[in-house]
């Protein structure tokens, strides 16, 4: 176990090193920091002096180590646009993104488990086929398009009247086809509750929850089909196994077999794959936040790109890289803990 732990942590450190090298290369390659700092009127000699003073004439290796040492102490430079330390800017925007991810994860959890289990137990039922069909279509719809359709349906509203409005049945059908709209599709709303530090939460007010609905449903829509398929596939595999057959032969009730014996072993791979997917969701938050103008780190990153705010871009890469590395390492360790049969040190069989 200790060897496994050491191996995984050193691997994580190696990945972080590579990320920091890439981030440093971007910072070094894009733009001249001097140009951003001083105006046109500064003479060549003065420029050279500042250059020497800032250490820009040192070798790349020395500059990298200075960058890495600062980064390790939480100093990732100052944002050009916000005029404050980039890490503070990111910490201000991070809670919004986290709440979006939490909301989407809750939706995924609530829907994927029952649907996946049902589709595995009754693979031939029309409802299962319907859900599997929907999930195939769902995978083909990009997350920003889902978001736009949701905005059209539930924020703007759709009013269609293909049926005669004067007849009772016509009005009812028209009503069924039309949607009200009215859900907020912009930002997080004004009623945020301060929790601690920079965390202002939208979970504790009616308005905040309303603002959260459309973005988190959109974000969940891209992962939900994946999870349904995963749970179904794993569950079907478990249901084929000998111990399930034995439990059935012993005369245990279907509910007990399915939910106590089978589901427990299904959830194991689902949790580990799920952990990695939650990390991947960070990439999709960029798209979701753009559509809904959600003031999280994704939107901040995109704005940093359009403003050429290089320190902020670099800091975002480092922070997101760290989040990815930590989730992946935790998931790996967790998997090693709950499933002792996994080859711990990765020796070739």
């Amino acid at each position: 176990m200790l060897a496994f732990l050491v191996q995984r942590i050193s691997q994580a450190l190696l990945v972080m090193f590579v990320i920091s090298v890439i981030a440093f290369a971007i910072q070094d390659g894009l733009g001249d920091p001097l140009q951003q700092m001083v105006g046109m009127s500064v003479s060549q000699d003065e420029r050279e002096a500042i250059r020497e003073d800032m250490g820009l004439n040192d070798s790349l290796v020395v500059q990298y180590f200075r960058f890495a040492a600062n980064a390790a102490q939480g100093d990732l430079g100052t944002s050009y646009f916000y005029g404050k330390p980039t890490l503070d800017v990111i910490l201000e925007h991070l809670p919004a993104t986290l709440e979006l991810v939490i909301g989407a994860s809750l939706i995924i959890l609530v829907f994927s488990v029952p649907i996946g289990v049902y589709a595995a137990i009754r693979p031939q039922a029309w409802l299962s086929k319907f859900f599997m069909g929907i999930s195939t279509v769902g995978i083909s719809i990009p997350v920003f398009l889902t978001a736009i359709v949701l905005i059209q349906l539930f924020s703007i509203g759709v009013a269609v009247n293909p049926f005669p409005q004067d007849a009772g049945w016509g009005r009812w059908l028209n009503g069924a086809l039309s949607t009200e709209g009215g859900l907020p599709s912009y930002g997080r709303g004004d009623e945020l509750t301060p929790l601690f530090g920079t965390w202002n939460s939208g979970f504790f007010s009616h308005d905040g929850i309303l603002h959260l609905i459309l973005p988190s449903v959109s974000l969940a829509s891209i992962m939900l089909p994946l999870f349904i398929r995963l749970i179904r596939a794993e569950m079907m595999e478990v249901l084929q196994s000998d111990y399930i057959r034995y439990a059935r032969a012993k005369g245990l009730g279907a509910g007990r077999v399915n939910f106590l014996h089978a589901l427990k072993n299904t959830m194991l791979p689902v949790i580990t794959v799920g952990g990695v997917q939650i990390g991947i969701m960070v990439a999709y938050t960029i798209l979701t936040e753009t559509v809904f103008q959600w003031p999280g780190v994704g939107l901040m990153f995109l704005e940093a790109i359009t403003r050429s705010d290089i320190p902020l871009i670099v800091a975002y890469l480092m922070v997101v890289g760290l989040i990815f590395v930590i989730t992946n390492t935790l998931v790996d360790l967790l998997y090693g803990l709950v499933n002792p049969t996994v080859k711990l040190t990765g020796k070739k069989a």
Partner: protein
Amino acid sequence: MTTATISRWDRFRESFLWYSFKRDKIAIISFIVLLAMVLAAIFAPLLAPADPYDLAQINIMNSELPPAGMAGSDPAFPLGTDAQGRDMLSTILYGTRVSLLIGFGAVVLQAALGIVFGLLAGYLGGRVDSILMRIADVQLSFSTLMVAIIVGAVFKASFGNLMFGEIAIYMLIFIIGIAEWPQIARTVRASVLAEKKKEYVDAAKVMGFRTGRIMFRHILPNTLSPIFVIATVQIANAIISEAALSFLGLGMPETQPSLGSLIKSGFDYIQSGSWWITLLPGLVLVVLVLVINLLGDWLRDVMNPRLYKG
């Protein structure tokens, strides 16, 4: 290829592939729809009523006209017009062309990278294998979209807006190809690992062939069917990635729109009620990706290759 008397067409007609294709309604419908869309995209300059790249043909007075059948529509614009007064039907045809071009191009690039790296990793093993697969793991754990966004952002920042817009097609092919090669490399590696234990590889080694020849001439042809299957699905993924990048403003410029940038430019007008500018290209995008995915599913079931699970 010993029987020269039977033509390739006859061989194809007797193959299991054709047999199962004839019996799968979903595959047939998907194939027909895809073929129609590809043909429409290829012949867009002939089919489209207007040339969306030609500024002289655009009249701003025609902007935001609804599709036929709605109040205020113009019969000259069957699918309505966008905010600049461009004919939606034409922009969608040209947009599909750009999206498909980038999708195919990106898959060709990632297949080239994936095949070379996958063969090297699988056949040589050892340190080459662990280094290449570690890179692939890290890239995949970041998700291909994230890698594409970061590479796109860096390119855009270093080339500048104008320059990036001019070479956007090549840039996007490069970005998506770089971001998604690990998928193919893993598949190739998995089948190379199974192939290299077989006797014909030993025979080739005994005959003294060079490693490169064994890898590309002997093993590669036997790993083609899983590559084919995953490449199909990857085209759909590349089209989605391109649309996502364009939607974020890191892709095709509005003057030379892909489906993604059409959706983006239409999104600004959805609040004013002009849903067709964004939702019609969106629908085309979804149908395109869906039929490719369905064909990919069918191919996987028929060829049943050893795909990397998950």
